[in-house]
């Protein structure tokens, strides 16, 4: 079809949509480092906005990173063993549990957050602590960790590998950490990058869960978009991009390596 009218029409359409997706990102990035928004690029580049934003909102970035890595640690500890159990057991109970555990993805974060506030908003100092946000992020991110790990567990011959390790005399802990975990580390890594990316960008839930003392990056961004000038908002967005894009690229790299033959490790 190359060279035919179909190809060129397809290419034009694809490029047009790509421009729609990509151009705003460039415009925003450039606005964040342009000295004078009204004159344009000819006014030169500056790091002034970035520094200003960091001075005012640096705390939100640090809190978001803190929450993201805490979320990662907890979802790893909860999700990897749970995925192992779900991969090992084929029964109806296991499928029902799997259905239940992925439910939080299907329910809007707004609803989950409201429920959390109703149930636990009055418990001690929880409401004003960052743990409250952490709880929401764990609930929301756990399904993604579970799915990423489960997918790889189902792709390897888990039962056979484990039997082989048992035949060699390995105890459960020896085979879990010596055979299973090393063979699913691609899935664990993909799930981890996913969890950190999602936690860093989580807004639907966090907007309700946060307090003035626990503002995360996306909440700060929303505030900046309504309150600050374009160059500041853009600089702030640029900081977010700088955090999120390497994570996303890493995730794509891991997934593409897993697709290669013999690369599921």
């Amino acid at each position: 079809m190359r060279g035919g009218i179909g190809f060129w029409a397809g290419l034009c359409f694809t490029l047009l949509i790509s421009a729609f997706l990509i151009l705003p990102i460039f415009v925003s990035v450039i606005a964040g480092v342009t000295a004078n928004q009204f004159i344009g690029i000819s006014s030169g580049f500056t790091t002034r906005w970035l520094l200003d934003v960091w001075a005012n909102y640096g705390g939100t970035v640090l809190l978001s990173l803190q929450i993201a890595f805490a979320t990662l640690a907890i979802t790893l500890m909860l999700g990897v063993p749970a995925a192992y159990v779900l991969a090992r057991h084929a029964g109806v109970t296991a499928r029902l549990i799997e259905e239940a555990l992925v439910m939080p993805v299907a329910v809007p974060g707004l609803a989950t957050a409201l429920g959390l506030i109703l149930a636990y908003g009055a418990v001690g100092g929880l409401r004003s602590s960052w743990f409250f946000i952490l709880i929401g992020h764990v609930i929301f991110c756990l399904p993604f960790m579970l799915r990423a790990v489960l997918a790889v567990l189902l792709a390897i011959d888990l039962k056979r590998l484990e039997e082989a390790a048992r035949a060699c005399g390995a105890t459960w802990a020896q085979r879990f950490f010596g055979v299973i975990v090393p063979n699913i580390r691609g899935g664990i890594l993909a799930g981890s990058l996913m969890v950190v990316t999602l936690s860093l960008g989580e807004f639907n839930m966090t907007l309700l869960l946060h307090t003035p003392f626990t503002r995360t990056l996306p909440v700060g961004l929303a505030d900046a978009y309504t309150a600050l000038r374009t160059e500041m908002a853009s600089a702030y967005t640029l900081i977010f991009f700088a955090l999120i894009v390497p994570l996303l690229s890493g995730m794509q790299w891991v997934v593409s390596r897993m697709d290669q033959p013999g690369g599921s490790r």
């Binding site: 705003p24 749970a82 809007p108 707004l110 639907n204 309504t226």
Partner: protein
Amino acid sequence: MHDRLRAGLLIAPALAIFLAFFLIPLGYLAVAGGAGGYSAILTEPRFLRSLVSTLLVAAATTVITLFISTIMGLFLARVRFRGRSTLLALLTLPLAFPGVVVGYLVIMLAGRQGLIAEVSMALGGDRIVFAYSLAGLLLGYVYFSIPRTLLTLMAAAEKLDPRLEEAARSLGASPFGVLRDVLLPGIAPAMAAAGAICFATATGAFGTAFALASRIDVLPMVIYTEFTLQANLAVAAALSFLLGIATWAVLAVARGASGGAAA
């Protein structure tokens, strides 16, 4: 240690967290609405109006996204040209953007100082601004949904057996016939799955609407307003419980229909 006991111990922490911080809060949410909250939804026309406009925006988003992503997905899955992989990497960037950032990007594109406004003025026309209207919201939702949908449909198109297409052509099918009889039926399950996710996301997300400070009363915005500004907890709870059940049901049905391909 007994196998079942160990399995139970390993999955218990995840289940405990799920029960404590998802099911119980959802239970609170269900009852917090009370008879007053649920009856208010049915009687006050503005809630019904917002429900209708939410469903319409979500449906429009789904149709537009599926249309764009199907064309692009089939094209990108079947052709190879220089820069294709770079383009693909760029196209997946927005995957990680939360709705609130997408809203800002819509302002960059169609806001008062946006790209479209600048270009239209430079061409001697009026300053075109539509970021804060229904069109802007729709644009944001479509922006948000395209990368996800595109990836799903591309993967489905790449899995199609090329021999099916060759067989259809050997039997004399036109390009349109191949599209209608082979390609579209082949990716239909993926389209159903991706469409359902698209619909559910557009129904439940409000970052984009929030960033655009849009005047469109989509349901999540109404819930947020009722909760924070009006302190009308009963209605907010009732609305969000129904919203949660609805999006979950849409996804569950789609998953059943597509044989497990949807989230």
